[in-house]
């Protein structure tokens, strides 16, 4: 199944992710984790990738971020053939993992500087950008705090800042608001909206349907390694029989049985 931007003109100049027929099977696993998955994400969107546990979201994100190499299909990210030039793609993307992927004994600022340097940044440009990122996530006054002493919400915001320090065109966020208080969650969602305003494309996974409905301009629901629905949130809800919101649609499409 293919998800295309409105208009359905196929791969266009504004298409930041163009995946066709992606397949991935983990070694030793009987079933492929992802089967014939196709996605098209227009630039500048906040694209929600939703699905129950084990649906294939993480595997899809791992392929899109060069962590796993698909066994089949084609994949272009930011106009670059990811299978042939993964290194080039890595310069253009950012990842905000589900875990707080920062060094606990380093300060927020030291972490951002380190990841910035790994992108080849340095000097005044890096310092300026680090301060911008701290401003964006509301941590300017806490940049000298070690990560291990930060609150859960501050850690999540620092995690987000580390993902954008190199000004990526495309940012992947894997459940960035998990396990934090409503205030921090709200701040993060505001930060993401601001990033979108700045022209950054966001691909976003979450289990909070309300959050996805509020933030995402476009979304795809994945189950069993396949895209089972995709489009604009309001259109998808309207198309669902008796669905009042995204959560109703999600449960209707993926069922109410527990996924382990």
């Amino acid at each position: 199944m293919t998800v295309r931007p409105p208009g359905g003109q196929g791969e266009s100049a504004s298409e930041i992710v163009a995946a066709t027929g992606l397949v991935y099977r983990y070694p030793g696993s009987a079933q492929p984790a992802v089967v014939d998955l196709s996605l098209s994400v227009p630039e500048g969107e906040v694209f929600g990738l939703l699905g129950p546990n084990g649906a294939g979201k993480t595997t899809t994100i791992a392929m899109l971020t060069t962590l796993l190499r698909p066994a089949g299909g084609s994949l272009r990210v930011c106009g670059v053939d990811l299978l042939r030039k993964p290194h080039q793609v890595r310069r253009l993307i950012g990842l905000v993992p589900q875990d707080v992927a920062l060094y606990p004994t380093l300060t927020v600022r030291e972490n951002l500087r380190y990841f910035g340097r790994l992108f080849g940044m340095g000097g005044k440009d890096l310092n300026r950008r680090v301060e911008e990122c701290l401003d964006l996530v509301g941590l300017r006054d806490h940049g000298a705090l070690r990560i291990e002493t930060c609150s859960g919400g501050m850690k999540r915001r620092a995690n987000l800042a580390a993902g954008i320090v190199h000004r990526p065109r495309l940012l992947f966020l894997d459940e960035p608001t998990v396990g934090i208080d409503p205030q921090s969650r709200n701040t993060i969602l505001e930060n993401l909206a601001r990033l979108r305003q700045q022209g950054m494309t966001l691909i976003y996974t979450t289990h909070h349907m309300e959050e996805a409905q509020q933030l995402c301009s476009r979304l795809a629901i994945i189950d069993g390694g396949r895209v089972i629905a995709a489009g604009l949130p309001e259109e998808l809800i309207a198309a669902g029989e008796g669905c009042r919101n995204l959560e109703d649609l999600f449960l209707q499409l993926t069922g109410r049985q527990l996924r382990d």
Partner: protein
Amino acid sequence: MKQFWATFCKDLLVLSRDRTGLLVLFFMPAVLVLVVSLVQNNILETTGASGMRVLFVDEDGDMVAAKVRERLGAVDSLKLVERVGDAPLTEATARRLVAKGDYQFGIVIPAGASRIFRVRSRQQARNAFGKKQRNASQVATEPMPQLLVFFDPTVQGIFRTAVTGSLSQVLLGIETEEKGQELSRALNTVLAARSRGFLMGGTILGEKELHRLLVVDSLLSVREQPASDRPDRPMPNAVQQNVPAWALFGMFFIVVPLSGALLRERQEGTLLRLRTLPVSYGVILLGKIAAFALVCMVQFGLMLAVGKFLLPLFGTPVLDLHGRLPSLCLLALCAALAATGFGLLVGTAARSFEQASMFGAVSVVVAAALGGVMVPVYVMPREMQAISAFSPLSWGLDGFLEIFVRGEGLSAVADNIFFLLAFFVVTLGLSWWVFHRQGRTGC
């Protein structure tokens, strides 16, 4: 290059913030070198130079006890103790103190030892010239009292052998001397009798001459010296042997913090982030290797400083580098690389911090034992000696001993350097392979 330095500085910063890690990396090895060198220094002294206190109980009060006291007292490795508190020692007190472990040895010269020894010696000398005594005295029929040596059961065999060996040597000397005198007297008596009074007893071979012949003018002697014919090489000592051995042991313990750092990166998700960055993970690993190898080198420098400046304050000899500092640094760097390579492999292959810390620490102790850090390789069974040849600590230690003890230079340790570097390359290659295998499987 920017990414290499970024990782290098980041890892040093992370290490500097870890107080427990710093304790493990610097303080503990320094304490280890200090304590082991002092302990070993004492062991070497007790087996060869001075120090072991032996309780000496004199129930004899005569010649044998006096001579044993005089001659054992002249043995550097033994210090005779005849009084504990105010009262002179008795056998019972000495046994109690040794059994308690307050002293390691006790020697008892029993009452009557000298008296019966003299009579028996005279009797044997006369018998040698065919003069059977018809009416042997009561003393001559008494059983010869045996000298007693008792020891603390925790004392190792090598020290028991050292004390009993010294005592046997002293007793042999006393017996030879006494019997020589009696033989001399008996011979003179026989000659005087055969010359019908023409030769007076004692005039042919005097007792003083015999004492000089048997005891003073010793013809065979032992002189201890190193095998090397170069006079500038000092005698090996505990400091020269222990400082490099335990410094190497400490350096290999970098495996624990390094593997821990790698596992933390994996568990906390930073590795995931690093793998999506436009920088080869090889560059990040090289930065990490450089940071941890530098820590090893600082650690090694600290250990040398302990040997050179701290240990002498406790009375040990000063660590002598023989002017081979560049060779030492090169060999230490290769050992540091071998240790970091092993740490990378452990950190990459282990699935939990517990696995890495346990396996890392235990494998280093095993490699150290096999490599001769704890017990010299030459005293190991032949099979263990063969296995020892595969321990990287053995290659490092052999190299250090070549420089520290034999005073050799770079050419003598070329093989050791090659093996250590080869070990580094192999472990690095294996780590790389395991890392990519994990990347493919998503583990």
